[in-house]
Symmetry: C2
Subunit: 233 residues, 2 copies
């Protein structure tokens, strides 16, 4: 068993500033940040100045600290080729089915939405925005991702509860959810397994439709295949 050498304190604190700012969702003062990090204010100050040099944070008119747009530019580099191939497919699906369609990937015990495309008259429009994150144990995309993992890698609290449901999804080839992540909406997702990359899924959400879940799944699977094809040749 390899030892676990200590991480970099300074870098870790700098990143925690970004995390704090991201979930605060409002501009914070340096003091507030220092308190949340439990470091001396002068430490937070120097770290902030460094983040500012790299434009990852900025100040609003009153001097309070916020995340900078440059963060979005960095995030655009995440799974760049997957996004490039997936987005046109998501768009096609969204237009054909008239439903919001999105791409989720596994991150630890979470499912993170990387891209999402909305059709006209989007009902659940604020539903799934890029960057949205929730436990992989809830929602259709999460379960579609779980079908790709050995149960030993599931979050501890999910094994008993989801065993049957995920098994069924695996043989069926798609997963569904009702009322889990977003109240009253249903979701259908198919797994997207790529060589060497983290497990992913593409999914749609809808409230009520004349289409059968299985029919939706067929359409999703077609795009999943196209994406896989494009990326793995």
């Amino acid at each position: 068993m390899p030892e676990s050498p200590p991480a970099s304190q300074t870098l870790s604190r700098g990143i925690r500033i970004l995390e704090v700012l991201a979930d605060a969702r409002i501009p914070l003062t340096i003091d507030e940040i220092a308190v949340r990090l439990e470091v001396h204010r002068s430490v937070a100050y120097r770290l902030l100045r460094t983040l500012e040099d790299h434009r990852l944070v900025g100040r609003d008119a009153s001097g309070a600290v916020t995340l900078g747009p440059r963060m979005a530019a960095l995030a655009a580099g995440v799974a760049h080729d997957l996004q490039a191939e997936a987005i046109p497919e998501l768009t096609a699906i969204a237009n054909e089915l008239g439903m919001t369609c999105f791409l989720g990937v596994l991150d630890g015990d979470d499912c993170i939405t990387l891209a999402s495309i909305e059709p006209r008259h989007a009902i659940a429009s604020v539903a799934q925005r890029p960057g949205a994150r929730h436990s992989v144990t809830v929602g259709a995309p999460g379960k579609a991702i779980l079908t790709q993992l050995p149960m030993s890698e599931w979050p501890g609290d999910a094994r008993a509860a989801l065993h049957a449901e995920v098994d069924e999804a695996r043989v069926r080839g798609y997963a569904t959810s009702h009322d889990e992540v977003i109240p009253t909406v249903q979701s259908v997702a198919v797994p997207l397994a790529l060589r060497g990359q983290r497990p992913a899924a593409i999914a749609v959400v809808h409230v009520a439709t004349d289409l059968d879940d299985a029919e939706i799944a067929v359409r999703l699977r077609r795009s999943a295949s196209a994406i896989r094809e494009a990326l793995e040749g």
Copy 2:
């Protein structure tokens, strides 16, 4: 004149790793990263382990380093309320005009796309993705942003060249571009100035249309007002 105390070396190097990964767009080995940072490999190693702890980077199956989806989750916190208000408006515009519609904000000398919505029947789909970044001196959104700034804050090389064009855009209330950022496409943008926040703009791109630029601008301005209203009461 305040002195400029040195920035945090460790944090700065850690961020440079993220920057290097974002623009490499392919997985890198630790050695490659160390070379690009011009640091000893063991330094890069410890920094990487820290980034990994925070899930900002991950490894693919072969052990190479990539940006992690968590970066996207962080980026979702950028201008959170602006995005929340803008996205429904962008969607409405995209569907009404049948054009890709996006939100750009100023970052230093660059214009960064924060969100973009494509219409139902998208023609040129890969136009402007979230996170896209280019000089504020090119493209319609950039010029719409420049109309909000005193010329003293323009990038040095833009003052002479763009003076007349931006002045005209300012009195007209909208900016245009042909063939600047993306070949053959035209763009129309209106400024979006928000109290205490960085200058922004909303814009559409199109190839050829029966609509007049001025008519498009009217529609854009309506949404800009709605967003301003919602955020500033």
